[in-house]
Symmetry: C2
């Protein structure tokens, strides 16, 4: 772990920006988000991953209105004060790729998965002792694309962002991310062992 | 806490049914879910809370494709083996009420919020030590309706379900639920202090 932590923090420290909220930027309503895709006959091939002319991933928008798949928490107080990803990870998949997953049980080309980090806000509430989400800390994203990332393991690439206001990804950190995603994720680089939504929606063979 | 726990478990033990997955029932795609509401000029008044002739809340469907708002975890090992709500709580609001919240900062009549419980599957992964979601345990729901629940505090009613296959709510437990929701929730019976998605989307005054 300690090597991975160092590696991650070295590449991705800019990701962890606190106090900036993307909520204000999410002005597109849920219905409108999906409407955009209705006008296209081939809308199921449309990706939510967008790139600039230099091929850099644009900072995802409105992902809080995508499909939530699970929320691991790696609290500071369980990781010597220094977890690789502090602390809650709210993980989302874009809705068209989710629909594809439900039908085919596979992650399509163009799938984008966003991991948004929040602090632990409190450890006690009226429901008992535990961990409760606090403030947003930053996002990371991964995109599967067999053409764009033909040489990456299973065609996934991994991105960090300087801040919520960055226009595009600050860093691509495939090596450090793949170290875990290739080796220990349960299905195609994705930790579906921690994501009950994806496991339940996967069609039986 | 111990009194509340007893009260909750007494009324809601049937809620905690493991091994049954609602995922297979969720056959409506995300886009289709929203399409249903497009045909209606007054779709913003349509509620996702549906009732039978006897006024019992029908078991919510497809809520995993609604808007996720936060995921507290109250693990067994932090609550003497017996948390009031074991263990992760994945909380969702219906998308039309979320759009209303983003615009108005209020929960509209007809708002439905679902809390889905999952076990802790593991406490260790390649990202570090923590809590990681395991299997589904059951759901609970709350509905705000100023006509239907004119006499309840802030017009919210609370429901438990026998199993994922129940057609309608098995129990309405307003008294035990209100004990916490009225007193300690940060806004209109809802624990937005634990739900960063709702806090960020709330418009500035």
């Amino acid at each position: 772990m300690s090597l991975l932590k160092k590696s991650f923090l070295g590449s991705f420290a800019p990701l962890l920006v606190s106090g900036l909220l993307v909520g204000q930027m999410a002005t597109v309503a849920v219905a409108a988000e999906h409407d955009k895709h209705k006008g296209h006959a081939g809308h199921h091939s449309k990706s939510y991953a967008h790139f600039n002319k230099d091929g850099e991933l644009l900072t995802p928008k409105d992902y809080r209105e995508w499909i939530f798949v699970g929320a691991p928490v790696t609290p500071k107080d369980m990781n010597d004060g220094n977890p690789a990803f502090p602390e809650f990870h709210n993980v989302y998949i874009d809705p068209v790729s989710y629909a594809h997953w439900k039908k085919n049980g596979k992650f399509r080309d163009g799938t984008i998965i966003v991991k948004e980090l929040t602090s632990v806000g409190t450890k006690e509430s009226s429901s008992g002792n535990g961990y409760f989400q606090g403030e947003y800390l930053g996002i990371a994203a991964t995109v599967k694309d067999s053409k764009r990332y033909a040489n990456r393991p299973n065609h996934w690439a991994y991105f960090g962002f300087e801040s919520y206001e960055s226009k595009s990804a600050a860093a691509q950190a495939d090596e450090s991310c793949n170290a875990c995603h290739v080796e220990t994720a349960a299905f195609d680089n994705v930790f579906i062992q921690h994501y009950p939504v994806l496991r339940a929606a996967k069609p039986a063979k």
